[in-house]
Symmetry: C2
Subunit: 118 residues, 2 copies
Amino acid sequence: MNKQHDVCEVRAINKKKVKSVKQLMLTDNEANSLSGTFSVLADPTRTKIIYALSNDELCVCDIASILGMSVSAISHQLRILRNMRLVKFRKESKMVYYSLDDEHITTLFNEGLNHIRE
Amino acid sequence: MNKQHDVCEVRAINKKKVKSVKQLMLTDNEANSLSGTFSVLADPTRTKIIYALSNDELCVCDIASILGMSVSAISHQLRILRNMRLVKFRKESKMVYYSLDDEHITTLFNEGLNHIRE
DNA sequence: TTTATATTTGAACATATGTTCAATTGATTA
DNA sequence: TAATCAATTGAACATATGTTCAAATATAAA
């Protein structure tokens, strides 16, 4: 920690603003939860999976085929989407069929899609 | 590439579904652009910065003070937000004041915030 | 039971990302 | 001019993340 850092971390330029914004500031938990939510959508493989599932319920093998990727890679990503409750699944014999489970995030997803497409 | 992969990448379970979803599928560019958009919001420091700037125009030093982080770390993150046109800035003597610049993403940001808060 | 197949899993690997540290730039002031 | 300060930058470092590979599960069929 050198002098420059001390100055800027301890003495703010506009103390009133700093104080008032500090009071409103997100907690670490809120910021982590918020950025964590966006992180789920921050990978092209996952956005493709979500997009694919927005059209149809699909098994792992078909998702892999659609994306042209290995089954293992898709399965790893599906686990992340499962843990975040973004997708649900049902088993039918050997196969596992995935579908979307979270309306909020798919709304977010579609807003993002509109954003890049307009 | 072993046998298992070949089977699942070449032969899909439900060929019709796979073919139709494949035709609708996002291009790599679209998927990268979409996930890239979400990536900007996928870091707690950046979400805090955006949140702070949604309240007020702020200089780098004050943002650092509000977040309790080094000026350098904040400046690096502001560069990312600048490159993505999420924030704009004006110079006033030695100081640089940042403010939000992109309505679309701040809408996205607020939707995410509602999502985690409800 | 043995074989085949759909999926999951863990470890290894490479790459991407965020922060720190030190140095630099640009503007102000003594 | 020299000194000071806000901000930026690049390199180094540690950590996180995504894919691959090999092995393990689980279910169905021969």
